[in-house]
Amino acid sequence: MIAPYLTQKTWLHRVGAGHKLLALAVISLGFTQLYDGRGLLVATLAVLAFYLVTIFGHWSRLRLYAPLVPLLIGIGALQAYASGWELAIASIARLVAMILLADLVTATTPMLKMMDALAPVLRPLRRIGVDENQVSLAVALVIRFMPVLLNEWTKRGEAWRARTGRRPPLRLLAPFVADILRLADHVAEALDSRGFSTKRSKD
């Protein structure tokens, strides 16, 4: 698995997450206003060059785009058939440019910085009863639950395979879901008994 975040530092890593997100929003707005086919193509090639220069040397990253290629070809073919080549190329170019730019932000911004950039957006949610502490607890729990779930599922799958010699069927999913729901309730009880009360944090 190739992680979206690029660990080797590039100059874009030093730019603040908020600025990058703002730039992304402005540029994406610009692209939707760009209708001239040739201009669009030039802009897209510029974005592509910018992208390649920034991730220079980390070519394995390009493999992330492999699943996108047949999709883009399909869309392009369908559009060329229905409304002509020029429109097809224009819409593909627009898509490619925006995906590359958005990916650059992800590639050069660590997850924690991104969460920090989100904090001012989350703060007004307090008024409708969403606490930032609850959000961060939820995020931490998702990250903690993932390996637990995978482990638990693998264990069941292996037990099934050892007894039948076949791949685990869908039938195994039902008791799995029932058991992980029970696990979640235990975790909630443990959290509550250790003083994490959502009711108390309100006042």
Binding site: P4, S91, T109
Partner: protein, 188 residues
């Protein structure tokens, strides 16, 4: 707004959706070995078992993690780029999809739990998600709605199978005596 138990369950299903992108492929009868991502099944289950609000929040939490750069979508994709792609509508559609599934699950209809869950998953998990998905696709790349619907249709049969799987799991896991799940108590 949410109690600790709700927050933990919301996180659990967000993690389940994430894990389903990584599960070694399950054998789904009838699918004929076509590899299909199970993540939509996780979305349907979140709606069916957690209820409309908690289900939708669970999906939102998952998408938030994807947006900030966690490689949680099937095939290890993630990051903001995903939301600028042509198929972003299918991801956004997960939120109303989970909501509608959970909402329909709460309606008392004749028929057993399995049929009710199947109907809910079909409308919420297949119809709503695909509707949002292909409308967005049409808008994003400037196709006509009909063209987008045709392109979309290839993926419908797989999702109908997932709705079946969701109904199966929800009718068994939900029939368990778990407290305060979305599923109303069944006379046994």
């Amino acid at each position: 707004m949410f109690e600790t138990r709700d927050i933990v369950r919301i996180s659990l299903f967000a993690a389940l959706i994430a894990a389903m992108g990584l599960f070694p492929r399950l054998d789904i009868p009838l699918a004929g070995g076509v590899p299909i991502t199970l993540q939509t099944l996780g979305v349907m289950l979140a709606g069916a078992l957690l209820g409309p609000w908690r289900g939708a929040v669970s999906v939102l939490l998952f998408l938030l993690l994807v947006a900030v750069g966690a490689p949680l979508l099937a095939g290890g994709r993630g990051g903001l780029g995903v939301f600028f792609g042509p198929t972003a509508g299918y991801l956004i559609g997960w939120i109303p999809g989970a909501y509608v599934t959970g909402w329909l699950m709460q309606k008392t209809w004749p028929g057993n739990l399995f049929l009710r869950a199947y109907a809910a998953a079909l409308v919420g998990g297949v119809l709503v998600i695909h509707a949002v998905g292909f409308c967005y696709l049409a808008w994003k790349v400037g196709m006509s709605l009909r063209q987008a619907a045709v392109a979309d249709f290839i993926f419908v049969p797989g999702d109908i199978l997932k709705a079946l799987a969701c109904a199966y799991v929800a009718s068994i896991a939900g029939g368990d005596r778990l407290t305060r799940l979305n599923v109303p108590k069944q006379p046994s």
